[in-house]
């Protein structure tokens, strides 16, 4: 009774509901830094904005022109191809190898704990730093080539940025090396959640190691596989910094990813409206992939 009366009194005097008051700072920061830019990007994707001018006279609403232009953009088509290729390779590699490592390192011990940490370490470094480390190793004047030259194997020196495919190969290697520890950790946690008894029941039923993996481990960790798969797909579809440091999108523009292309359009060619349209399209694609894989996972998921 008393609190109800106080509430009423409070409202009459024009006080805010305390829960709103507490949520306000966060909501404000979130809106200013995230929601507003997203809405702004969405709005500007229908304009010819160049990203610089604030003179509204030159700003024109051009409808879906930016979106239809994407269909004919050959640079974008290359970028989509490169991004999809890297995504498929890296997603498969980090998930399969990550799960494999998790299975090997499942039982804790001093040595396995050290190995787990070693695999996880690259993930806590920034991808720019990781890329520079790899540059120091694989660049033309890097450690590998210096070593090869010093032992007289000049014929075997690597020039990773010489061709499109060798560049993509090394981008994939660096991406896999950087993120595999993270996915291994997700799978380690997943494996530890599978009840030991199920394995024992499976042993009693006459199964071998492989059959236990197929019949128990995999079905039991479907939710974590979905999470890892989704995170890796989203990460790779947005790949930018490793490419920026390793190849700069080259040779030529042959290793530009979608995000790389968006940033080039926005800050090199100053076509922010068009870049925004591409960003919106990428966002929609990622959302669709996420929704579909969640749906599939829900079907496969095991209710315990």
């Amino acid at each position: 009774m008393r609190s109800a009366r106080m509430k009423k009194k409070g409202r009459r005097r024009g006080y805010l509901n305390p829960s709103f008051a507490f949520a306000m700072p966060g909501t404000l920061v979130y809106s200013l830094l995230l929601m507003l830019p997203i809405l702004f990007a969405f709005a500007s994707s229908f304009t010819n904005w160049n990203g610089l001018t604030i003179n509204l006279e030159n700003l024109r609403f051009i409808g879906i022109d930016n979106y239809s232009r994407m269909m004919e953009d050959t640079a974008l088509k290359t970028a989509v191809g490169v991004t999809l290729f890297i995504t498929v390779v890296v997603v498969l590699a980090v998930n399969i190898l990550g799960l494999g490592l998790a299975v090997i390192l499942k039982n804790s011990g001093r040595m396995t704990n050290i190995i787990r940490t070693v695999f996880f370490l690259p993930y806590i470094l920034s991808s720019i730093a990781v890329s520079f480390i790899w540059m120091a190793i694989i660049s033309y004047t890097g450690i590998i080539n210096s070593f090869l030259i010093s032992i007289g194997l000049d014929d075997f020196i690597i020039n990773f940025s010489a061709t499109k495919w060798s560049s993509i190969f090394w981008i994939c290697v660096v991406e896999i090396w950087r993120s595999i520890g993270f996915y291994m950790t997700i799978y380690l946690a997943a494996l530890q959640g599978v009840p030991q008894e199920l394995y024992e029941a499976c042993v009693m039923d006459g199964s071998g190691k492989w059959s236990r993996f197929i019949h128990i481990t995999l079905p039991m960790i479907v939710p974590q596989i979905t999470v890892a798969f989704l995170l890796s797909v989203i990460n790779e579809l947005r790949i930018y910094d490793v490419i920026f440091v390793l190849t700069g999108g080259g040779p030529g523009t042959s290793t530009q990813s979608i995000t790389y292309n968006i940033l080039t359009q926005s800050f090199v060619n100053w076509r922010s409206g068009y870049a925004s349209a591409m960003a919106v399209a990428l966002c929609v694609v990622i959302t669709i992939i996420a929704a579909v894989s969640m749906k599939i996972s829900k079907k496969l998921e095991v209710d315990v």
Binding site: E197, E200, A201, V203, M204, D205, G206, S207, P219, D303
Partner: protein, 383 residues
């Protein structure tokens, strides 16, 4: 059906592997000895129950039989074949786990068919075996359901079904009823007794519940601290407990123990001191003690609560607590500060004549008392 022989079985967990194992006796530096000197012969078609408190090694022994734990020392035979190093799947043993361990992503049918599929049996054979086992356990209508949708009792049946569908030589059960409520547990206990009549196989059953042990087992193996304390039929274990531990563990309420008593020998006859009296032992017990030339010694005297009666003559005591249990009464008597429990049928007692702090007299038949050596704790009447 199979004969199972365990000879000098021992299980030691090296110090480094420990952590999740219960505390117990230690041997060698920090090694944990979970089971030692385990000798047992289980005959064809016999129902054996391992019973004991938590951490006594009963489940470890069962897991060694299943092949889920390595045997550190000793030999394990199934039908005279040494199977220490035989993989679990080749031992032809089935096991029902405490938490059922049903595969949550498979239907009941697939749970039951899984082991047969792994053995690459023909589809028709699998179907026939699964359906006949389901019929036996009355779970045919559950075959298409997932374990999550089943009740505890139904899951238990499926777990048993999954085991019997393989037609195993030995059927192991690890505390299969401990997750069920009392009513369901009693029901399932009766079902296991019936099941046992229908499927002819050797059963080894682990429980910490003495009622399950007494009602299910042809023979009971009482364990404590990793060692067998007694092997015998339920009747033998109840009537002639081999030592103080078995006497205290089997029987509810627990046997009354009188710790500071003496066994006296006077003119060729044995007496015990109890309640400031010297009580002459009956003839049969005299002979047993004589046969082994028993000397006078400090003893613990044990009397089971149902073997004490409230009577007009006997030792005087104060009635402390009256517990009405339905068909029986538990009376707590106080004799010089010592609590003695008496169990008496409700029908044989007029409750209105009993009230707290009343003086009552009780007596017991000397034939029904147990005497244990105070130092080595063994039953002096055990042959």
């Amino acid at each position: 059906m199979a004969k199972v022989t365990l000879h000098n079985i021992m299980k030691v967990y090296p110090a480094v592997d420990r952590g999740e194992k219960p505390a117990g006796k230690k041997n060698r530096s920090e090694d944990f000895v979970a089971v030692r000197d385990f000798n047992l012969e289980v005959s064809d078609n016999e129902f054996i129950v391992f019973v004991g408190p938590s951490g006594c090694g009963k489940s470890t022994t069962l897991r060694m039989i299943a092949g889920l734990e390595e045997i550190t020392e000793g030999e394990f035979y199934i039908d005279d074949e040494l199977v220490n190093d035989v993989a679990p799947k080749d031992r032809n043993i089935a096991m029902v786990f405490q938490n059922y361990a049903l595969y949550p992503h498979m239907t009941v049918y697939n749970n039951m068919a899984f082991s047969l599929k792994l053995r690459k049996e023909k589809k028709e054979v699998i179907d026939q075996k699964v359906r006949s086992s389901a019929e036996l356990l009355d779970i045919t209508e559950l075959l298409h359901r997932k374990p999550k949708t089943l009740s505890g009792g139904q899951r238990q049946r499926v777990a048993i079904g999954r085991a019997i569908v393989r037609d195993p030589k030995v059927f192991l059960m690890d505390e299969p009823l401990s997750n069920l409520d009392t009513k369901l547990r009693n029901q399932m206990r009766a079902e296991i007794i019936k099941l046992r009549e229908r499927i002819q196989t050797t059963f080894i059953y682990v429980t910490h519940d003495q009622i399950e042990a007494m009602t299910l087992g042809d023979r009971i193996v009482v364990m404590n601290n990793g060692q067998i304390q007694q092997i015998g039929t339920p009747q033998e274990v109840f009537d002639d407990p081999s030592n103080l531990f078995v006497a205290g563990f089997i029987g509810t309420p627990q046997m009354n123990f009188f710790n500071d008593e003496k066994l006296l020998l006077n003119e060729g006859k044995y007496y015990i001191t109890l309640f400031d009296q010297n009580i002459e032992l009956p003839q049969r017990k005299q002979e047993i003690l004589k046969a082994r030339n028993q000397e006078e010694t400090d003893v613990v005297v044990g009397i089971r609560p149902p073997h004490i009666t409230i009577s007009d003559n006997g030792t005087l005591a104060e009635l402390d607590i009256i517990e009405m249990m339905g068909s029986e009464l538990h009376l707590h008597l106080n004799v010089d500060g010592k609590d003695i429990i008496v169990v008496t049928p409700t029908t044989a007692t007029d409750l209105s004549t009993l009230h707290k702090h009343q003086q009552v007299k009780f007596s017991f038949h000397p034939e029904l008392i147990h005497i244990f050596d105070k130092e080595i704790k063994t039953n002096l009447f055990s042959l």
